[in-house]
């Protein structure tokens, strides 16, 4: 069985699964969708009350929660949609233009 971790942009067609089938869960973590971002959210920790409203609103599960508190954004997967900024009641998230290397 071919695993998702063994398929990459250099894989020949013979070494890919038929029809792009995936035989395991959680493989979206391996795809760094943060590269698509044109706006980037910035977490202003001093204004944050840890109400966690932003967490369920994030469509990409890009706000990690550790021990009941949010931490900084997962920029590997955040697409910069800005929904977290709108959901925040305390103006603790601002959007900035992404600067690509």
């Amino acid at each position: 069985m071919i695993h998702a971790k063994d398929i990459n942009e250099q894989s020949p067609w013979q070494e890919m699964t038929p029809g792009g089938e995936i035989y395991e869960g959680g493989t979206a973590r391996m795809t760094l969708t943060g590269q698509w971002r044109s706006d980037v959210p910035v977490w202003m920790q001093d204004q944050c009350k840890q109400c966690l409203m932003c967490v369920p609103f994030c469509p990409d599960s890009s706000i990690p929660v550790v021990n009941g508190k949010r931490t900084d954004f997962d920029y590997d997967h955040c697409k910069g949609c800005g929904i977290c900024m709108s959901a925040c009641p305390f103006e603790a998230i601002r959007m900035e233009k992404e600067v690509h290397d």
Binding site: S11, P12, Y23
Partner: protein, 337 residues
């Protein structure tokens, strides 16, 4: 079709039936079924695509889906339709094929005909078809499965190449299953049937029930010493290009009979395939396309004889004349037929 895709992905054998606009309505998901490599069986009773509004027989529905990635097998009569169904799942489910399959027959002409056929015993059929146990399925396996995920640019072409290879593999699978079918039930099938082709100088290439009409005509012409023959295509996808070219290599004049319009202004879909297949032959037969039988327009033995007589004229004069001809329509002008 979307229901079939879900059922097949879950690991079930999924079968559906449709016709005409019903097939056209599935157009988008036909491609999804094929690209997801789901071996679904579809009974396609060929009826014309509207418009103008019409429900009668021609091949425009399945010909419209000819590039959707489905295997397509056609039948002359009800016995062949039945036999093709018995073979369909095994072809489609072959591990290095895994493509959906369309079993086609002529709407009304055979689908509404009363015809004696040999039915095989259920036990023998079940034994021949066998059980379906796909390695991967959404249900009942010890690992999860994602089917048909978004396929980004760096990967999608590779999957399309896999699919194209699978269709090449289907050629082998069609013949393997046909060989076992002959051994089990005694009736022989291949990519196409050749009728009186050994010494044929003029020949038709066509699909479906018109083959029966053409065979009657050939017998009459042969009694007059005319060397007429017929190739009846059974397997249209995968297209047996090399085999058809080889079967036509000794023929002098060929009429490809298209029972659907492609509106290409240069001929119907079967003509394009057959002419393309013959391109690499050292000596080509002269070849014309006769588009006939659209939207249920009847075709008789006399009509077929007109085509053979036209081929004889081309043979005698050496002049091909118009290559893209319609037959069976009323006209205020003098036309070929």
């Amino acid at each position: 079709m979307s229901t079939c895709i879900g059922a097949a992905a879950a690991g079930a054998r999924a079968v559906t039936a449709t016709s005409s606009a019903g097939l056209a309505f599935m157009y988008e998901v036909l491609y999804v079924a094929a690209s997801s490599r789901l071996p679904i069986t579809l009974a396609c009773v060929n009826r014309t695509l509207t418009g103008p509004i019409n429900i009668n027989n021609d091949h425009s529905d399945s010909m419209g889906a000819r590039d959707s990635g489905w295997i397509q097998i056609y039948a002359e009569n009800n016995q062949e339709a039945y036999d093709n169904y018995l073979q369909a799942m095994r072809i489609s489910e072959t591990p290095d094929v895994r493509l959906p399959i369309m079993i086609c027959q002529d709407g009304f002409i055979t689908s509404h005909a009363v015809e004696n056929i040999l039915l095989e015993e259920d036990d023998a059929v079940k034994k021949f078809v066998g059980e379906y146990n796909p390695e991967h399925a959404l249900i009942g396996r010890d690992h999860p499965l994602a089917v048909g995920p978004y396929d980004t640019c760096p990967y999608c072409m590779e999957h399309k190449v896999q699919q194209a290879e699978a269709m090449k593999n289907a050629k082998r699978a069609v013949l393997e299953v046909a060989a076992d079918f002959e051994k089990t039930f005694g009736r022989k099938y291949g990519f196409f049937e050749e009728y009186k082709m050994e010494d044929a100088e003029i020949a038709l290439v066509l699909i479906g029930s018109t083959a029966g009409t053409a065979k009657v005509c050939i017998d009459q012409l042969r009694a007059q010493g005319i060397k007429a023959g017929l190739i009846k295509i059974r397997v249209f996808r995968p297209f047996p290009a090399e085999e058809i070219a080889s079967a036509l290599s000794h023929v002098k004049v060929v009429a490809v009979m298209d029972k659907s319009e492609g509106y290409s202004s240069a001929g119907g879909p079967l003509f394009a395939e057959v002419a393309g297949a013959c391109f690499d032959l050292e000596t080509h037969p002269k070849m014309i396309d006769v588009v006939y039988g659209l939207a249920g327009r009847d075709v008789t033995v006399q009509d077929i004889e007109k085509v053979y007589r036209h081929l004889l004229k081309i043979l005698e004069t050496g002049i091909t004349g118009p290559r893209y001809i319609h037959m069976g329509q009323r006209s205020s002008q003098k036309e070929v037929f």
